[in-house]
């Protein structure tokens, strides 16, 4: 809503340029890659980009909420791993289930949806914990989520003893491997659906409006009667729910629960949200921007790969583009002293 409104305002040349800087970058990147390598410019490749970015994209959708409240969530990658191994452990083909929970052989197979809910619940519980810590102990979100990042990773490793949880049943793996109408992978559908939900939450509910207020000025929000603590808990809960869902998705796709899943993904998520204009100074951001940020990073990843650029050089280019995009963005939302 906020960003729509800004774009409607006329005669704001500076605002216009910085508002669309990211899309300009995106179009330029697509043009460059398209010219350099025709294979880039195919519908199939765009689906590929969406597919490979959907899990990181989910993290961006999640962490955007935290960043808008002027926080951060570093635990997302580890939360993915937790939801991965916990959900996977319930849907292994019977012969394998007994490796982790012996005696399971005597039971009926657990339905896939129960496994999904279980993974989501365990993963999301970390967000509740993060939120409570941030809201009530007032420790910095960076530290709170750094703690839970380590704890969640430890839990995933302990639970599996660092072994993969392989051989998952097909009624579960279809979540990650199936596709809608034969060309749009389920995980892309999930991502797009979540993006719509995130947009509704952020712009069309009281909770979303409260988050902007809390991030924009926490004291003013409190003085306006907003339940700041509840708002924060909800933001972190949403964030880890997105991560847990990403964990389930990737697990279903690779048909294996992995305790080391998602290492460093939280930073990709943060980068995408940031490139997409979600400001670290709080109170600013949109889901549309977030998706733009995800696409910028996805196009870079994919384009450089197709061009056969050295993976090491890829990292350098990606880092530079993140910084440049944010420099542009800073001009837009610079807080007045």
């Amino acid at each position: 809503m906020e960003s729509n409104a800004i774009s409607k305002r006329r005669f704001d040349a500076k605002g216009f340029v910085s508002k669309y800087a990211m899309y300009v970058i995106l179009i330029v990147l697509i043009a460059i890659f398209g010219f350099a390598e025709p294979a880039f410019f195919t519908g199939k490749n765009f689906v590929n980009i969406l597919t490979s970015e959907s899990s990181r994209g989910l993290l961006a959708l999640g962490v955007a909420f935290c960043i808008i409240t002027r926080g951060i969530d570093l635990s997302l990658g580890s939360v993915m791993a937790v939801s991965s191994v916990f959900s996977a452990s319930l849907v292994q083909k019977l012969t394998y289930s007994t490796l982790i929970i012996p005696g399971l052989v005597n039971f009926q197979p657990i339905p896939a949806w129960v496994a999904v809910l279980f993974g989501l619940a365990v993963g999301t519980s970390f967000g509740v914990m993060n939120g409570l810590l941030v809201a009530y102990t007032k420790i910095h979100p960076f530290i709170a989520t750094l703690g839970s990042m380590t704890i969640a990773r430890g839990l995933a490793l302990l639970f599996t003893n660092a072994y993969p949880v392989p051989m998952l049943r097909e009624d579960f793996t279809i979540i990650g491997q199936g596709s809608l109408f034969g060309f749009l992978p389920n995980i892309v559908c999930i991502f797009l659906l979540m993006a719509i939900i995130a947009n509704i939450l952020l712009n069309h509910t009281k909770f979303g409006k409260n988050m902007f207020a809390v991030g924009g000025n926490i004291d003013a929000a409190r003085a306006s009667g907003i339940n700041v603590e509840r708002t924060l808990v909800l933001a972190y809960t949403w964030s880890s729910f997105c991560a847990a869902l990403a964990g389930v998705m990737v697990t279903a796709r690779s048909a294996s629960g992995i305790a080391s899943l998602g290492e460093g993904y939280e930073l990709d998520g943060i980068a995408a949200a940031t490139v997409g204009g979600v400001s670290q100074t709080g109170g600013v951001g949109s889901i549309v921007g977030c998706i733009g940020g995800i696409l910028v990073l996805g196009v870079i990843n994919n384009g450089l790969l197709i061009l056969g650029v050295s993976p090491y050089l890829q990292k350098i280019i990606k880092g530079a583009i993140i910084v440049i995009a944010v420099v542009f963005d800073m001009r837009k939302v610079a807080r007045k002293k």
């Binding site: 907003i226 100074t281 807080r335």
Partner: protein, 508 residues
């Protein structure tokens, strides 16, 4: 030798879409205090920021002692003997007074190490030279705002400043501290320092300034000796029209008691607060800064926890633990610190207006009605004349007075029965001030009960039906409108007069 220590000639400055200064000229005589006046946004601050190099002017020349200079940053400015004391001080609160005094330029030993002994000796000398009684070892954060300001002035003096710009230096000082500041200003003037004094307060201009220059809409509209000026002429110059009475107190019926406060206390901050508040009444809270007035309001509103006492609203005991509870009792609070606890800077005017009232925009589906928000925002922008390009403009881009009006709109929208306003016109220009005053009066006329904290005596005397005076966390008296005079209030505020039990019970 030039007649002027500083001349700024034909200065123009524009920002994208705004011409902030149009061919402005300004001349400063040596050893004088020169007032800069004008409504917020008139261009005073822009001109001063051009002077000290925070902004680069598009056109114009600056002469110092007749020599043309080009100042491109504040460091340049201080080399030319110009210092600015900003309205919002930004000291390094965790370090000592001396370290703050010589921030960025401490005396050195062998060019590498800070010479701490010399640092504290120099600091002591500088402070004593100005007659400031502050220990250089004291942590900056432990000082009052007034003392921090003095350190800031001492810093300017220690840099051999011959021109000191003071931007609303008295906005958070008590009247005693203001006197001390004025003493210091006179002292500096006697030493030949020229001072540019930005203020909205008329009485200060006539008390301390020699010359005055008035700005309106980015242009210089008048400059003269203060002795040739009258209040009416000054206001006329500033707003370009004659203002109605500054304090349009309208008599309105004061009816039943809506709130009773008994023996309210919060830790060591304040205790023993007793009063009744009636519909249609404006109850003033007077006292020196730090007397605990704001804290009482914060406690009543649930921003601070009470340690004893009872609050009764409409005959029922109210347990207010957080602002959300206060809102449920139809209370509203316009806080003192507009930036700190008021505006949400990076949000739009519309979002800022509705933020305390969002639940009224939630439709049955659970989603927010943006159409209704837009309609209400537009209505309030029109009704209380908020000057903003649109409802979607970020509130940080509005002037202080208009930001304050947005906050007034925020609370009006909640339909309060009880309204607390804490220093509602601090740092707001004359025109907007009168508008805020008439808004408050109008609300009282609608039967709302209002408590107003103010450090401006004319505001208290002009607006309030009764005045509760505090001194160091204690209630020292309640005065009726007819008994309230500046002198009486000051006696209670400085506790030179012991409150008699009689006056207390009579007032309640």
């Amino acid at each position: 030798m030039s007649d002027y220590v500083l001349e700024m000639i034909d200065v123009s400055k524009s920002f994208p879409g705004v011409q902030a200064l149009k061919n402005v000229s300004f001349r400063l005589r040596p050893g004088t205090v020169h007032a800069l006046m004008g409504e917020n946004g008139a261009g005073k601050s822009t001109l001063m920021k051009c002077l000290i190099g925070l902004y680069q002017m598009n056109e114009g020349t600056v002469l110092i002692n007749g020599q043309e200079v080009h100042i491109t940053n504040p460091l340049d400015a201080s080399r030319h003997g110009i210092s600015m004391i900003h309205q919002e001080l930004s000291p390094v609160t965790e370090r000592s007074v001396a370290e703050n005094l010589f921030l960025g330029r401490p005396p050195m030993k062998a060019k590498v190490f800070v010479d701490h002994k010399k640092l504290y000796r120099l600091a002591r000398e500088t402070l004593q030279g100005l007659g400031i009684d502050i220990d250089p070892y004291e942590k900056m954060g432990n000082l009052t705002v007034a003392k921090m300001q003095m350190v800031e002035i001492a810093k300017a003096v220690s840099q051999d400043a011959s021109i000191i710009v003071m931007d609303e230096p008295t906005s958070s000082l008590t009247s005693i501290e203001v006197e001390q500041l004025f003493g210091m200003i006179r002292n500096l003037r006697a030493k030949g320092v020229s001072i540019i004094y930005i203020s909205h307060k008329m009485e200060e201009i006539f008390k301390i300034c020699d010359d005055v220059t008035v700005f309106r809409d980015g242009q210089m509209v008048g400059t003269d000796l203060v002795s040739n000026m009258t209040v009416t002429r000054l206001i006329h110059l500033m707003v370009g029209r004659d203002l109605d009475a500054m304090f349009p107190k309208v008599e309105c019926p004061i009816t039943d008691v809506i709130m009773e406060v008994r023996d309210l206390a919060s830790g060591n901050t304040f205790s023993g607060i007793n009063f009744d508040l009636r519909r249609g009444e404006i109850l003033g809270f007077a006292g020196l800064v730090g007397a605990g007035r704001t804290e009482v309001l914060e406690t009543l509103f649930g921003l601070r926890s009470k340690t004893s006492g009872t609050v009764t609203i409409k005959g029922k005991v109210a347990d207010i633990k957080r602002p959300a509870d206060a809102l449920k009792h139809n209370m509203a609070m316009l806080t003192e610190d507009r930036r700190g606890t008021g505006i949400i800077p990076v949000s739009s005017v519309a979002s800022n207006i509705v933020v305390a009232n969002l639940k009224h925009y939630v439709r049955k589906s659970g989603l927010i009605s943006h159409r209704k928000i837009a309609a209400d925002a537009k209505e309030y922008i029109k009704r209380i004349e908020i000057k903003t390009p649109s409802k979607d403009t970020l509130i940080q881009d509005l002037s202080g007075g208009n930001q304050q009006k947005v906050l007034v709109a925020r609370w009006l929208l909640t339909g309060p029965d009880i309204l607390f306003v804490d220093e509602p016109t601090r740092g707001i220009d004359v025109g907007a001030k009168a508008e805020i005053h008439s808004l408050i009066t109008k609300m009282a006329g609608e039967g709302k009960a209002i408590i107003m904290v103010s450090s401006e005596m004319p505001e208290i005397l002009g607006m309030c039906d009764r005045v509760l005076v505090m001194h160091e966390g204690r209630q020292t008296g309640i005065l009726d409108r007819c008994d309230a005079t500046q002198e009486r209030i000051m006696e209670f505020a400085t506790h030179t007069e012991e409150d008699s039990g009689e006056a207390q019970s009579q007032a309640i």
